[in-house]
């Protein structure tokens, strides 16, 4: 009998770590195939211009050049886009942002492709460009698309804000500005497409969050049936939302189709900066009303978001930004208007947090400003107003038991704050402590179809294989899936393995995003495990000639009525002799029950499941230099149930690091008419930039609908970070920074 234990919650070591540490994990750019050709993407040299003429002839004469493609050469759909199909694979007549793909060159080597590409002459007629989301909505703004620059607009209200502000004893108004942020995954976008002459099919290796969406877009662009496109997921070098974009995979596939050979495309970091989706820059104008006793009466906000030249996931990001603008607070009267604009900036789309980091910088700064104005402690003010289970927020969503986390978070924040206040200051530095709450939704939003299907197969050696339908981006989804399956099947962790995703073989698990993967995958795999056991017992019943109800399952064995055991191996082996396999599949659909989900909002709103947390920062500010050093940091997060401690901590530690980058360093600025496009000027936090003292406090308040009580932890760790730091800076030096990042110039209130 196999010795088993309870696997969920155990400190299991993720299996992929071994080959990654050995340098043997194959990422897409590491896969070698014979006779591989290489692509180069010639990109737009203007922010906005009409393409008058493309002269490819100088490049054609270069030996080794195999194909040169422009928009005219795309056999099928010339545009793609998950929400709005507005993004051209290759610019068609007009370029709308710097670095937009215009021509694809395929050659024997990457050097030949690049050199040939650089010989191509594109004759442009420059057009006026607009980079600000508010300016873009003015009547005289240059128009990017025939439909205008207003991509989407959300107007959500509850109660009566005019009445609410009348009732207020204090009213504060402030405008907050948020920068453009790169997902900053270390592996730039890449794809390898292999054309199969026989049958006119293509295999495309991707580094992507949504291989099944890639498959659809590739098929449409190549004018092939979806069944002729096989998409395979290799090891992924980070994604953080940014790899919900199919552009490079579509281009690699078009190249392979054109030259009837394997084609590799790899973006440089510069190309990644210019042409892949970012976190939306935003301007948020906020007004908050409060009574003398501290209770909030009204919140009004207008948010302007810059989605760049194409919509990407902008309309969905706008929804979460809107829904989270009231933070974790009871506010009876709320009115929020959010505008998403096309501009000639680089694309913005999905990025970890998905609108919530922007909204939280505004509301969590605002709450501290109000505490200062009315002379109340910021944590006490939060306690007075924070949501309780059963409260209805302005979208009509009723808070579940998860909201109990907020009061626990605030109590723990007080303890940690007291501890941080007692830390002695470094001579010459001014110290401050600040905190912020965080709310992050799970799921794609009401009435967005969200089915996640996964399969289990019982091998003849008794091990179980997961056909996971959604890719692991590096965060450890596979490990969570294996631990949950091992738990459900009462098997040791090492008896469960996972197949890499292949659209020909794997079920469709849907896009890996929205803090919901362990939740979706776990629910599906628990159900699939139950089905697998049912299948096992019915096979055993026939084989052993016992009524099925007299058999039971325990730890990889079937128990007969006399108490003796037959191993699964025996049963699967005998099934295999008859060419039968023991497998099961299950689909979990994200629950948005119509009777309990408010139905008055656009599709995609509201999000009904929320996770909560709090973060506390202690800073030392140099009053001469304006530099901010975060010396201590605590992150308190409710995960429902820990599946893997190191995995949860890793999400929190990495999330906070990204949050600190947002708070202090990162900003993809425009400089001399170009965008910052390298890590020399775009500063990702290094090991030196992180707090000397860091602590994670993990709460486990079970989510009733979650597998073993699980909630999401993928995004929320970076949501409260920037406002916690900004509040600490105010506490230290009395300067309220309303624009990220918190640079020395802003701390010293120097005009830039």
């Amino acid at each position: 009998m196999i010795e088993t234990r309870s696997v969920v919650g155990n400190p299991e070591i993720r299996k992929d770590a071994w080959c990654k540490a050995a340098g043997k994990a194959l990422y897409t750019a590491d896969i070698h195939v014979e006779d591989m050709k290489h692509g180069f993407i010639l990109r737009a040299a203007y922010h906005h211009a009409r393409i008058l003429d493309i002269d490819i002839s100088p490049a054609f004469n270069v030996p080794g050049v195999l194909a040169i493609l422009t928009a005219d050469d795309i056999p099928g759909a010339k545009v793609f886009g998950s929400l709005i199909p507005d993004q051209p694979s290759l610019a068609d007549g007009v370029v709308r942002h710097l670095g937009e793909p215009v021509v694809l060159v395929i050659a024997e080597t990457k050097d030949i492709a690049r050199k040939a590409g650089e010989l191509i002459n594109i004759n442009y007629e420059p057009l006026e460009a607009v980079f600000d989301p508010v300016d873009a909505l003015q009547p005289d703004a240059p128009k990017l698309h025939d439909s205008g620059n207003n991509v989407s607009e959300l107007n959500v209200s509850e109660g009566d804000v005019i009445k609410g502000f009348k009732e207020a004893d204090f009213i504060l108004e402030e405008t907050f500005r948020l920068p453009r942020i790169s997902p900053g995954y270390m592996e730039p976008e890449t794809s390898l497409a292999i054309w199969h002459e026989e049958g006119n099919t293509v295999t495309v290796w991707v580094s992507s969050q949504h291989p099944f969406t890639d498959q659809e877009f590739i098929a449409a662009a190549l004018d092939l049936p979806v069944s002729s496109v096989q998409v395979k997921s290799s090891v992924i070098g980070g994604a953080f939302g940014g790899k919900e974009d199919s552009s490079i995979s579509i281009l690699a596939a078009l190249g392979a189709q054109a030259v009837k050979a394997p084609v590799r495309l790899v973006n440089t970091r510069k190309e990644s900066f210019l042409a892949h989706p970012k976190r939306h820059p935003a301007e948020i104008r906020m007004k908050l009303g409060t009574k003398k006793d501290g209770s909030f009466t009204a919140l009004q906000a207008q948010a302007y978001m810059d989605t760049g030249a194409y919509a990407s996931y902008g309309p969905a990001v706008a929804m979460i930004l809107t829904e989270t603008l009231a933070g974790s607070y009871r506010i009876p009267n709320v009115k929020i208007d959010t505008f998403l604009s096309y501009t000639n900036s680089p694309l913005s789309g999905a990025m970890r947090g998905f609108g919530s980091p922007q909204s939280h910088f505004a509301i969590e700064s605002m709450v501290d400003m109000m505490a200062e104005k009315i002379g109340l402690d910021p944590i006490k003010l939060r306690k007075k107003n924070s949501l309780r289970p059963g409260d209805k927020v302005f979208t009509g969503v009723e808070m579940s038991n998860s909201a109990t986390a907020l009061m626990i978070c605030l109590d723990k924040s007080q303890d940690i704050k007291d501890r941080y206040l007692a830390v002695e200051a470094t001579p010459g530095k001014k110290t401050g402590v600040g905190m912020a709450l965080a709310a992050q939704s799970m799921g794609l939003g009401a009435n967005v179809p969200d089915d996640s299907t996964h399969r289990l197969l019982w091998n003849t050696d008794g091990s179980v294989e997961i056909y996971l339908g959604s890719p692991d981006l590096g965060q450890g989804l596979v490990t969570a899936a294996e631990q949950i399956t091992a738990e459900a099947l009462e098997l040791p962790f090492d008896r469960v393995t996972t197949r890499e995703l292949d659209t020909l073989l794997s079920p469709n698990g849907n896009v890996t995003c929205a803090s919901r993967m362990t939740y979706m995958v776990g629910n599906a795999l628990i159900d699939a495990s139950e089905k697998l056991i049912t299948g096992l017992l019915s096979a055993a019943s026939v084989m052993l000639d016992f009524p099925v109800e007299s058999l039971s399952y325990k730890k990889g064995c079937v128990l007969k009525p006399d108490g003796t055991e037959v191993t699964v191996n025996e049963i699967t082996t005998r099934l295999a002799a008859d060419s039968a396999v023991l497998q099961s599949e299950s689909t979990f659909s994200f629950p948005y029950p119509e009777e309990t989900t408010p139905q008055h909002l656009p599709i995609g709103m509201p999000h009904t499941l929320y996770c909560f947390g709090a973060q506390i920062a202690r800073v030392e500010v140099d009053p001469e230099l304006g530099t901010v050093d975060v010396t201590h940091f605590a992150a308190i997060h409710d995960v429902g149930r820990i599946i893997n401690q190191a995995g949860v901590e890793g999400q929190i530690e990495g999330g906070v690091a990204t949050g600190l980058g947002y708070a202090l360093y990162e900003n993809m600025l425009q400089k001399e008419n170009q965008w910052i496009d390298s890590f020399t000027e775009y500063l990702l936090p290094t090991a030196m930039d992180l707090p000397e003292h860091f602590e994670s406090v993990i709460l486990e308040i079970p989510e009733a609908s979650g597998p073993y009580g699980v909630k999401g932890i993928g995004e929320i760790p970076l949501v409260a970070t920037a406002p916690a730091v900004a509040n600490a800076v105010f506490d230290a030096v009395g300067v309220r920074v309303t624009e990220l990042p918190i640079t020395p110039e802003r701390v010293l209130e120097i005009e830039e």
């Binding site: 900053g184 890590f679 090991a687």
Partner: protein, 159 residues
């Protein structure tokens, strides 16, 4: 195309090359020798450390070095850190500490730690952070990497 002759020792084996002098060490390691543990993360700018290798024991960004510059030198890539099928204590520590997430920066970070621990067998956390400061990681927040280095330092000093 002009070529040059280069001799080098790669993971203990002598290699003689006739090669395009414009190639970087990273390109040669990945494309000519098929060792893909060293990664390109920043487009050959020396900003991210994913391409880290050891050159005569010194930490270098292999994307910043032309192949002609390594003639006669000893190169250790992640594949050469431990005998085939085995793991170096630093690799084991990265795995056991949970310091590996997407793993793209891991080979470079492991080699940076190797160079660090060869010089300083008992580094403080601050020294470790300095030693890792040339290796960007977006997943881990570095916390578990620092833990891993302390574990590895302990194991290596026991040997």
């Amino acid at each position: 195309m002009r070529t040059i002759e280069v001799s080098l020792i790669l993971n203990g084996l002598k290699k003689d090359l006739t090669i395009d002098p414009n190639k970087t060490l990273l390109e040669v390691i990945r494309e000519d020798f098929g060792l893909t543990g060293a990664k390109d993360g920043c487009g050959g700018e020396g900003e991210c450390g994913a391409c880290t290798v050891l050159l005569d024991g010194y930490l270098v960004n292999s994307c910043m070095i032309f192949i002609g510059q390594v003639d006669g030198l000893n190169i250790t890539t992640i594949e050469g850190l431990a005998p085939e099928g085995e793991y170096h204590p630093i690799q084991e520590a990265f795995v056991s500490a949970g310091a590996v997430q997407c793993g793209y920066c891991t080979p470079g970070a492991v080699l940076a730690v190797k160079a660090l621990l060869d010089k300083n067998s008992h580094p403080s956390d601050q020294v470790i952070k300095e030693g890792l400061s040339g290796n960007l990681c977006r997943c881990t927040g570095y916390t578990k990497m620092v833990d891993a280095v302390q574990i590895a330092a302990e194991v290596l000093s026991d040997d």
